[in-house]
Symmetry: C2
């Protein structure tokens, strides 16, 4: 595919681009987003209108919106990414060995990255900035629902690359609704080094099964909060409600709360009261339902990523039972414990095998910006290469550099 | 497959084993190698005898040998691995964010590793020690030529695990010549997290094409040495000869020397004289053959990993032409420059896209022990996860640990 050959050529050129040039291009994208926000918003309005007409659910239509607050968020994020240190050319370490050899790992870009994502235009801007900064070329295949929005964003990005003499093919935004293009792209293992799919479980399954290129992904987020007796009831309630209700539609939103048996009688009625206030539906285990009135949770519920204002509730004996439940039903994404018991906190941290494990904090903190990555290009529940939120460094590889002064092994 | 289920169970248990216990088991393997060296050597002799009878080439038979010097080497290596810091449970970093959250990446084992390797019994010992130390379970499928040697080594390893109450299935040495076992193992993506094949290009191609599990590998090592005019002739000769002749059969052995045009008249006759002395066959480009008498190098030679006492020789204009040649014909494995010109050294280091790039040092230094990894479990020319020689850290992943005190995002 010509676009892949172009991407590979662009990758070579951008891999050695100076930091300042890359930063200038990133900042320029932000300037243009600000200056052209009216055209961007009207392109986005046309996408929304089309989506509405096609009968798309109101909530889903809202996810396509790229309005002032989203635009301002991107402008801030672009500034943050420009300010982050450039990983390329940096050494992880550089040490002198007993032989006198000096040895280090130098960070290099991965090459060509393919992102396949569903309808969220802000991903277009974030991924472009991340890849420019890390010296990679990227092919961006967004959802066809926001075709017009992505088209104008793509134009802004290309112009910025051109203005600073960076290869224009370093960021290629594909604006087509032809699904066979994706199928073709996933075969290009000679040209593409990594695929990052973002979207529903079905999309990710499809990419994972079809691709001959390495894929970094998470399938779903069945996230847990385990509440201990030792925890302050209000703290526990705040963390549960923040984790569940701030953005119920995202992958790190809470789906199941596990309550220590000795805490159940005090905590569950408080949870129930708050849930009723904000229209959160609870589905409880048998023991939960003997304390508060909820729908019944079936075996299937424990496996389910609701992405909705539903929360399953289970009573467990202790931290070990909570860990066992998470191991059996969880998805290795994001899990948190609320406790004042330091031993149980440490046990939870070491035993829960998830990409992000929290203590006394909302699952909403599985977020690249909050943990210092600037933003994130994706979240991985893989163990190879990258795990959890992926920032700039996760878009790099390294080479060993070894410097001697005539060193031969046979001495 | 039952052996995979057992490996997964063992992985869970060994992932939390204390450092001291793991070290004791590793040291015990070394003690037993020393104490039982006579039985090991006679098992190995039986393998060698069988190989000879089957008509295997003398050089290849020698590669199967596990004699005193190999045994002593392993005992030393086991001590080194026991002394290396345990990566598991360590944090790459742990910082406080403006929000007051403390965030870090904690190292964890990968899980279950499958190693498929051809006939070198020392790999059995090294890989077992590496995986024990890094808290992984490993399935070791070695070449059937050294079946008896691997059997006794497997017994020693299992005994050591048992003695220190570590799960015996953490290291499973498969002693079978049935090739369908490999085929079956490569399907077990629910149980095995990573495959590391080591051996000839054909084996690695087969594993790569068959496996549904992630594979870390290098196909071949077409390694280069570029000699500049500014280099001292004797230094250059030493590095070329060490890189080529110390172990011609290994993947980081030199295959092509590139000589700067202005250095050719001085360097090539010196190279020719030395090559004749040690019976190294040269294959030269046209320009080389106008200066010294060599066989003719064809286009195919530049792509060839000889793994033999043959060296191809080409005259190039300068560092850029050398880089272009390496990019076109190289395999991204190991390449070195001999120069006194600092600018050209830096240019070579940044532009050559290989897993190990050296300056004024022999390609033999692509070696886990020499660069501080203790030993190595494999060499990767991939860009994802690990590149170059793989040590303990390359057998780990991480999880983000986030600690708050009631942190909620909506404030």
């Amino acid at each position: 595919m010509e676009l892949c050959i172009n991407a590979k050529d662009a990758a070579r050129a951008i891999s050695v681009a100076p930091t300042e040039i890359k930063n200038n291009a990133i900042l320029k994208i932000g300037e243009r987003l600000h200056r052209e926000r009216e055209s961007i918003k009207s392109a986005n309005e046309r996408d929304l209108e089309r989506a509405r007409k096609s009968g798309l659910d109101r909530v889903l239509v809202e996810r396509l919106r790229f309005g002032d607050s989203k635009i301002d968020g991107r402008i801030r994020s672009l500034r943050t990414i420009a300010e982050l240190p450039d990983p390329i050319g940096q050494y992880d370490d550089f040490v002198q060995r007993p032989s006198g050899l000096r040895v280090g790992r130098m960070r290099i870009p991965l090459g060509v990255i393919l992102m396949i994502y569903e309808a969220r235009p802000h991903v277009t801007v974030n991924a472009a900035a991340f890849c420019i900064k890390s010296g990679n070329a990227v092919i961006l295949k967004g959802g066809s629902e926001v075709l017009e929005t992505n088209k104008i964003l793509g134009k802004i990005i290309t112009d910025a690359l051109k203005e600073f003499d960076l290869p224009v093919n370093a960021v290629q935004v594909i604006s087509t609704s032809d699904r066979s293009v994706v199928q073709e792209l996933l075969k290009q293992n000679d040209y593409i080094d990594l695929v990052i799919p973002r979207g529903g479980e079905k999309l990710i399954q499809y990419v994972n099964e079809t691709s001959r290129i390495p894929v970094i992904k998470h399938f779903k987020g069945v996230c847990h909060c385990y509440v201990e007796k030792s925890a302050d009831v209000n703290t526990a309630l705040d963390i549960v409600m923040d984790s569940k209700m701030l953005m119920p539609e995202v992958c790190n939103a809470l789906e199941t709360v596990l309550v220590q048996r000795t805490a159940a009688k005090e905590f569950l009625p408080v949870l129930k009261r708050e849930a009723d206030t904000v229209n959160l539906k609870l589905r409880g285990c048998k023991e939960t339902r003997s304390i508060i009135d909820t729908d019944e949770a079936t075996e299937e519920d424990w496996y389910t990523e609701y992405l909705d204002t539903i929360l399953s509730v289970k009573v467990v004996e202790n931290v070990d039972e909570a860990i066992d439940h998470i191991e059996k039903y969880g998805s290795g994404h994001t899990d948190t414990i609320v406790t004042e018991n330091i031993k149980n906190a440490d046990r939870f941290v070491s035993a829960v095998d998830s990409s992000v494990v929290l203590v006394n904090a909302s699952t909403m903190y599985n977020d690249g910006e909050e943990i210092g990555l600037g933003a994130e290009i994706g979240i991985s529940t893989e163990k190879l290469h990258a795990r959890g939120p992926m920032g700039l460094k996760e878009l790099t590889s390294y080479k060993f550099v070894i410097r001697g002064n005539g060193h031969c092994k046979k001495s």
